[in-house]
């Protein structure tokens, strides 16, 4: 039996410390996921509390057909999507205009980005650019990309968390990754062509 299952059995027998151990283990990842979904730290904090509270109350219904982490991320995702659907419905999906624009620019490519060393891509400035590019995606696309490429869930697990088909997850992931790729490439192309950079070279 894995450590999560052991803790769940203890919690169901009334051991609150076991619940705190699960919270300690997952709170950072859940908070990161919620922050990326709603793009608001205070709201993410409220949704974090709501997620773990719902998880605690829902534990007797956890059947173990998926891992605990998949189940917990599903609660977090549903909590965030419910909030967004109620308060910011336009932020969830692409509208058709943006959808078509993304398809048109799919083949944009330049060597500046791939030739940039990893330490520059992951510098403070580089990280901000990555965060911004992800933040600009609609929520459904952003969450699929974060679950797959940041959290490392399999496509099957992402489809369970998002309550979508694997085909829908693949399609959103393709669009999300290309949108982020294009944003980063444009940024590094402009950076490479900036007067300062040209003078330096």
């Amino acid at each position: 039996m894995d450590a999560d299952r052991e803790n769940i059995e203890k919690i169901l027998k009334g051991d609150y410390d076991a619940f705190e151990a699960l919270v300690e283990k997952y709170q950072g990842r859940i908070y990161r996921h919620l922050r990326k979904m709603v793009k608001d730290n205070h709201l993410a904090q409220d949704l974090l509390q709501e997620t773990f509270f719902s998880a605690y109350k829902g534990l007797p219904g956890f059947t173990g057909s998926s891992s605990f982490s998949t189940w917990l991320f599903r609660i977090a995702t549903n909590t965030a999507l419910m909030h967004l659907r109620k308060n910011r419905p336009d932020s969830i999906e692409y509208d058709d205009e943006i959808r078509n624009q993304t398809d048109t620019h799919l083949t944009l490519a330049s060597p500046e980005f791939v030739n940039t060393p990893l330490e520059i891509l992951l510098s403070n400035e580089g990280r901000k650019k990555i965060e911004k590019a992800i933040d600009e995606l609609p929520a459904l696309y952003r969450s699929v990309m974060v679950l797959r490429d940041v959290e490392g869930f399999s496509l099957e697990e992402v489809s369970r968390i998002m309550d979508s088909s694997v085909a829908a997850v693949k399609s959103r992931l393709h669009r999300a990754r290309n949108s982020v790729r294009e944003a980063l490439m444009s940024y590094y192309m402009e950076k490479d062509l900036s007067p300062d950079r040209r003078r330096a070279s």
Partner: protein, 82 residues
């Protein structure tokens, strides 16, 4: 798959290991012969790699503490029996 766009549409699945052996071979042959598609593939792979490393699972102490207090208040003891 015939056009570069059709190849590029498969690159995300290819990166995820979702293509069959024959399809992988066709994509790899094309990437070997097509520098623009090779560049798109490399930039997509780089994007996926750096996104995975860029966003850390940090949680401020204040948020951690508020969560702990909230849950103790609402769940601990007999406040939320199963």
């Amino acid at each position: 798959m015939k056009t570069c766009k059709e190849f590029c549409d498969c690159l995300s699945d290819y990166l995820d290991g979702e293509m069959g052996e024959d399809q992988c071979r066709i994509i790899e042959d094309h990437l070997d012969r097509c520098p623009p598609c090779q560049l798109i593939y490399q930039s997509l792979a780089t994007t996926v790699e750096i996104c995975g490393k860029a966003i850390q699972p940090e949680i401020p102490d204040e948020v951690r503490e508020k969560l702990r207090r909230f849950l103790r208040e609402h769940c601990a003891g007999d406040k939320c029996e199963f």
